[in-house]
Amino acid sequence: MEKKIKKELDLTNFTDEVVAAYPSKVGKKRAKSIVINDPDSIPKIQANVRTIPGIITQRGCTYAGCKGVVLGPTRDIVNITHGPIGCGYYSWLTRRNQTRADKPEMENYIPYAFSTDMQDSNIVFGGEEKLKQAIREAHELFHPKGIAIFSTCPVGLIGDDVHRVARQMKEEFPEVNIFGFSCEGYRGVSQSAGHHIANNGLYKNLIGNNDNPTRKHKYAVNVLGEYNIGGDAFVIEDLFERIGVDIIATMSGNSTLEQFETAHTADFSLVMCHRSINYVAEMLETSFGIPWAKANFIGADATAKTLRKVGQYFGDQELIDRIEVVIAEEMETVKTAIAKAKAKTEGKTAMMFVGGSRAHHYQELFTELGMETLVAGYEFGHRDDYEGRRVMPTIQIDADSRNIEEITVVPDPTRFNPRKSEEELAQLKEAFDIEFNEYKGMMTDMKKGTLVIDDLSHFEMEKLIELYKPDVFCAGIKEKYVVQKMGIPMKQLHNYDNGGPYAGFKGAINFYKDIEMIACSTIFKQMKAPWENEAFVTAEYVFN
């Protein structure tokens, strides 16, 4: 039976509802971040601006974006957090980026947290000597190929120069690649600044260092912005192995130094998380001539589309045929799984507030389940992630973004080699609608009348749930138990509630099952005790 979306909700009053509750200046500012979508005439949304103090935000900091997100998942770099103990501690094994070092002699530093554990004397007298000593000790204990240094808030304030320390220590240990990141938490307005700083660092210190990648197949791509949460990258690797295409670098799930160093030898970059890695994609294009296209492995149809894009790009009929065989094989089980889950999920509604791409990507999976996304937003997205890259030239850079280093990237004098000519790219766009160096953003894929909210506050979340009662709400750990206390099922889309993988065809099936489970779970029906549900006739024993 075809179920209709259960309610035709009018979301237009939401802005007025919430704005009135804020102090007036705060309300005015928040109103610009809450818009009703129209895919035919995409409205302007305020994004990537500083969160109002006290508002209770989902956002984290620059360090989290740099160390936690982008560099954290690499398994053979010793990542030393330079600062007091907390920052290193909280980014220790908390993001579920899985790593697999197949042989015992292969490096895997992921289960380790390294910190200089700065004390008050280091704050007063400087921490550079302690950092140097920490690097010496890391070298003596582990002999890693690479050591990265991540700055926390006080480091920038007291003037420790982590880049100078890195240079000096590289002289002491010439065989080790040692580099630093100025990713103090106060820079930028969210994790996003940290992504940018990490991207710059990857380009300056790693990309292009090694011209001899490990190759197996004729064609090679990079998968950028894929962090292997719950094993997503493993699923993608398996698909590429089956279609016979090398992944030179995954940035950065289960990655290695070698992958970063050889990334410039790939012929095509697929960009998963546009927000966190688009800078590297651009740099690879400008510096080495590698085109990039937006990819999405979240959702079975999206995965098929992305794989076909790879076939079309290389234009090799054998490859195209292999891709079709893999898609056909996988789609059979996918269809059965969808049919089973859809019986329970069709017509239900979802809301999602995650990341800088996930709130877009996961709408695909909900659509496959016959569910509608009523409201969505990013935690740290920019306007281009919402409205598309076409708005980038018009984005005003405010003081919070201006202090993030912009590096100048020029074509590499010897290795710049456009993989496709302008004409070839134009032909591919014409024939297959492949958009190169382009991302159209989330709003173009959302229905008219849906609501888009950037940097959702706790108050707005409560209101959304109270007013529109979605069947599932998606966000992160800080929201998880709030939502569930309201009796609404909550799906974490950062750590997948220890589920996953959700990427590719196999991942999609896992997701269908998990959402079906949420739709069928009965515990929320037990929130009231039986005696609270009905009027009791009370009687008393009379003892005499």
């Binding site: 103990i85 304030l157 929320f524």
Partner: protein, 459 residues
């Protein structure tokens, strides 16, 4: 191997902490603030601090953890965070309507030297603090002490801002509660009820971090020490401080401010620490210890006696916080077990004094506190000579798997198992719970790994 780079070979480390057995001050302050009813903790620093602390506490308790942040920018880091905090106070009182905002600092706001007294009085002058509401604050620089210090500073701030002595003394005993689970606090409160002693516990996480699921989200759950009770602590006749490193500072402040004398006790983990707690409460509240508690004690002793063959002489490695490690080590020793490696990242003179005393009959035992007392070091000791049991937070699971060693989760954070906020480890019943967990860990491990002919039907 998960921790494949850890070997038995120790080097003389001076600067590099690896796999810490501690975290930073503000998370402790945030946690403690949740134990006051109607309190919204506020992190004065970068957004990331608040986000990390809320995430860590949410993962551990599986409960909503609410807190605000001053969302520092580079500008506020240069010019000071005063405007941010004033704005935050306005926003929070307008939108979230707490009874009290408990501001704690971070390494960022401490390094630039923000003066909280002055900022809060500015908010007051601007009439941003509604009548009858409070903004309290404490300093928690991350580069001094650890999460335990932060907890202690926040609890001391409750006393500083609220405890008031009036001429009318009350026949009430204060219980200053150290870092433990709401279940542990609930059990301690049950014991005081059984004893018929009148008490005020502060902070009190029961009915806050173990709130029922009933379809109604309460930003300020029903539990927590009320501000009224917190004020009354100044009129109580005595304070029992449970956990030296978390509560001694608050007890001293209360004595100085309101002349309420105190006694420091260990958190009642194990029968000896519970005995001392009950005897002290009996003495100061002037109430007898009823037979029912002697029976509870007897049941625990009975359980240990039934399990003794499996506990005797077993080598244990532990990591965590001084306030819980001290009574836990004592409990293990009292069951004839051998806590051979004990590590805490929190510096504690009390720990350093107590350990040699508790471990005097175990010459092979090693312990370390403070800087560089980390889990990597403890793992290296284990590599040198193995243990039969690990007791500590979730980070121990990696060692447990690599070394094929039974593992009992205890402390903070326990991110990978539910229920620790439901089942107490304090009191005699909590002791029994702990003995059962240890026995299950030993015997499940044995049953899965022993030769087939060695699988036994009976204990």
């Amino acid at each position: 191997m998960l921790l494949r780079h850890t070997t038995a070979l120790e080097i003389d480390r001076k600067a590099l902490t690896i796999n810490p057995a501690k975290t930073c001050q503000p998370v402790g302050a945030m946690f403690a603030a949740l134990g006051i009813h109607g309190c919204l903790p506020h992190s004065h620093g970068s957004q990331g601090c608040c986000s990390y602390h809320r995430s860590a506490l949410s993962r551990h308790f599986r409960e909503p953890i609410m807190a605000g942040t001053s969302s520092f920018s580079e500008g506020s880091s240069v010019f000071g965070g005063s405007a941010n905090l004033v704005q935050a106070i306005d926003t929070m009182f307008t939108v979230y309507k707490p009874e009290v905002i408990a501001v704690h600092t971070t390494c960022l706001s401490e390094t630039i030297g923000d003066d909280l007294v002055q900022i809060v009085s500015k908010a007051n002058e601007d009439k941003l603090i509604p009548e009858g509401k409070y903004v309290i604050h404490c300093n928690t620089p991350s580069y001094v002490g650890t999460h335990v210090t932060g907890y202690s500073n926040q609890v001391a701030a409750f006393v500083k801002f609220f405890s008031t002595a009036t001429p009318k003394k009350r026949n009430v005993i204060n219980i200053a509660a150290g870092w433990m689970e709401p279940s542990d606090m609930r059990e301690i409160k049950r014991l005081t009820t059984v004893m018929e002693a009148r008490t005020i516990m502060f902070p009190d996480m029961t009915d806050v971090l173990d709130a029922p699921l009933d379809g109604h989200y309460k930003m300020y759950p029903t539990g927590g020490t009320t501000i009224e009770d917190m004020k009354l602590t100044g009129d109580s006749k005595f304070t029992l401080g449970l956990g030296q490193s978390c509560t001694e500072d608050a007890c001293i402040k209360l004595d100085n401010k309101c002349k309420v004398k105190f006694e420091m006790l260990d958190i009642p983990i194990g029968f000896k620490a519970t005995d001392r707690f009950l005897m002290s409460l009996s003495r100061h509240a002037n109430v007898p210890i009823p037979q029912s508690l002697s029976d509870e004690r007897g049941r625990l002793i009975d359980l240990i006696s039934d399990s003794s063959k499996y506990l005797y002489g077993k080598r244990v490695a532990l990591w965590g916080d001084p306030d819980t490690l001290i009574p836990l080590v004592e409990f293990l020793v009292s069951m004839d077990m051998k806590p051979v490696y004990v590590v805490t990242g929190t510096p504690s003179k009390y720990f350093d004094a107590k350990m040699p005393e508790l471990l005097k009959d175990i010459p092979e035992a090693k312990f370390k506190s403070g800087e560089l007392a980390d889990m990597f070091r403890m793992h290296q000791w284990i590599k040198q000579e193995g243990v039969d049991l690990l007791i500590g937070n979730t980070y121990g699971k990696y060692i447990a798997r690599d070394e094929n060693t039974p593992f009992v989760r205890f402390g903070f954070p326990i991110a990978d198992r539910p229920g620790h906020n439901y089942f107490a480890k304090t009191g005699y019943e909590g002791g029994a719970n702990l003995v059962k967990q240890i026995m299950d860990a030993f015997l499940d491990h044995y049953d899965r790994t022993c030769l087939e002919e060695k699988v036994e039907f009976q204990l």
